[in-house]
């Protein structure tokens, strides 16, 4: 048995430009897939919103259900009644991430665009700018005070709490938001690649009667992983959108606003906790 499989990780994530080489618009496989994913997203919602029938069917049902889910379960539930204003943006955000992630399990493509840092970091910066803009627009300078000096805390604690709040809200947030998405999709991509490479190696390239059972096992695991990755794809899009909604809600209502009980803030940690489970898996 002389099985040797060499996998260059760089071949999974780095692609040479196809067009416009040495310009900021250099088009490689990643950028091309971004365009494909965007077109898929637009086509899906174009088909969904094309017919305005009173009794929805097919694509219209899916589109309306998707929009209503984001509007009611994320925008209104998290932000409150004024969340309706952000429902369109959150819908765009969710489905853009979802379609970019989905590339991971589309046969023939098998590459999640979000496993490259460009989209996660761009969307995280956008979220960062958005919630800070909303915070200052809604609360003015009080937004900064309320965030750095949350009410109801003994004064001495501020020595510790204020730097932590500053780092967590103004420095770490965009970073965790982008790295969470990137790491999940990257891990999923590597995992799928390894199992499919094993399967290919055991069943095709280096096929022997002894490698057959191993090949079957890896094929089954790889297929199961596709289903699991579909879950991760949806959860990651949901987490990114949900956290954006939480940050907007916090910017609108204040950090420790008495009018909003802890249920508004507690789920932030719950959602962030989901990241740990999916990454660990």
């Amino acid at each position: 048995m002389n099985l040797a499989l060499e996998l260059d990780v760089n071949h999974l994530f780095f692609w040479d430009p196809i067009l416009f080489k040495d310009t900021p618009f250099a088009l490689n496989r990643v950028s091309l897939l971004m365009i494909v994913g965007s077109l898929a997203c637009i086509t899906f919602f174009w088909l969904a919103s094309r017919k305005k029938s009173m009794v929805p069917k097919g694509m219209q049902t899916i589109g309306e259900t998707a929009y209503l889910f984001i509007r009611d379960r994320i925008a209104i539930d998290v932000i409150g009644p004024e969340g309706v204003r952000y429902a369109a943006y959150l819908t765009a955000l969710f489905f853009f991430i979802f379609f970019m992630n989905l590339m991971e399990i589309v046969p023939g493509i098998n590459f999640p665009v979000t496993s490259r840092m460009a989209i996660p970091v761009f969307l995280a910066i956008l979220t960062y700018l958005l919630f800070n803009f909303i915070g200052f627009a809604k609360q003015g300078f009080h937004y900064l005070i309320g965030t750095l000096f949350p009410p109801g805390v003994p004064k001495g604690i501020y020595l510790l709490l204020t730097p932590i709040e500053f780092f967590s809200v103004f420095i770490i947030r965009p970073l965790t938001l982008s790295v969470r998405l990137l790491a999940n999709m990257m891990a999923g991509h590597v995992l799928l690649t390894i199992f499919f490479l094993f399967t290919h190696e055991f069943l095709v390239t280096d096929f022997k009667i002894t490698t057959l059972p191993l090949g079957i096992v890896t094929a089954i695991v790889a297929t199961g992983l596709i289903v699991f990755e579909l879950l991760v794809i949806s959860i990651q899009a949901y987490i990114f959108t949900m956290l954006t909604a939480f940050y907007i809600a916090e910017a609108i209502h204040g950090h420790g606003d008495e009018s909003h009980d802890d249920t508004d803030h507690a789920p932030v940690h719950e959602v962030e906790g989901l990241e740990a489970t999916t990454t660990a898996a």
């Binding site: 048995m1 002389n2 099985l3 040797a4 499989l5 060499e6 996998l7 260059d8 990780v9 760089n10 994530f13 780095f14 430009p17 310009t23 900021p24 618009f25 250099a26 088009l27 490689n28 990643v30 950028s31 971004m34 994913g37 965007s38 997203c41 637009i42 919602f45 174009w46 969904a48 919103s49 305005k52 029938s53 009173m54 929805p56 219209q60 589109g63 309306e64 929009y67 209503l68 429902a87 369109a88 943006y89 819908t91 765009a92 955000l93 489905f95 853009f96 490259r116 840092m117 460009a118 989209i119 970091v121 761009f122 969307l123 956008l126 790295v179 990137l182 990257m186 390894i194 094993f198």
Partner: protein
Amino acid sequence: MKNLLILAATEEEPSGLDLILPAVDELVWGAICFAVVAFFMMKIAVPKLRETIAAREQSIQDAKESAEGERAEAKKMLDDYKQQLGEARAEANRIIEESRQAAEQVRKDILAKSEKDAEAIVARAQEQIQAERQRTLQELQGSIADLSIELAGKVVGRSVDAESQREMVDAYIREVSGMGSNGGSNN
């Protein structure tokens, strides 16, 4: 151990750090793609979906309101009908009562008229009886006078002056009848 999977990053251009740093060209394309998708979603698709959903909600609301209106109208009509039915019943009862009273009146009138007629018939009959009696009495009076004269003539054996006898008999009968009526009352 060659039969192991070897994960090796090549030592060429891209380093490990490049895996988590965004490439400028990809960042540009990512921004463009998201801008296009966000514009399409926020300006075209979502407003359309929102419009459709709002129109559906409105049509359901309208249908509900119109159903409620129709229900209220139906209830009003039912109330009207019930009221009309009640009025009709009262009217019918009033008519029946009036008819009964009219019938009673007619009955009374007929009864009164019948009694009056009966009384008139009885009175007339009595008058007739009285007249008949009177006439019979007179006839009887004449016959008795004639018979008495004839009898007296036979007893006396001679013809009695008929004229004077008659006057005498008549006077006697008057007396007798006068006595009879007086005597009858005395007896």
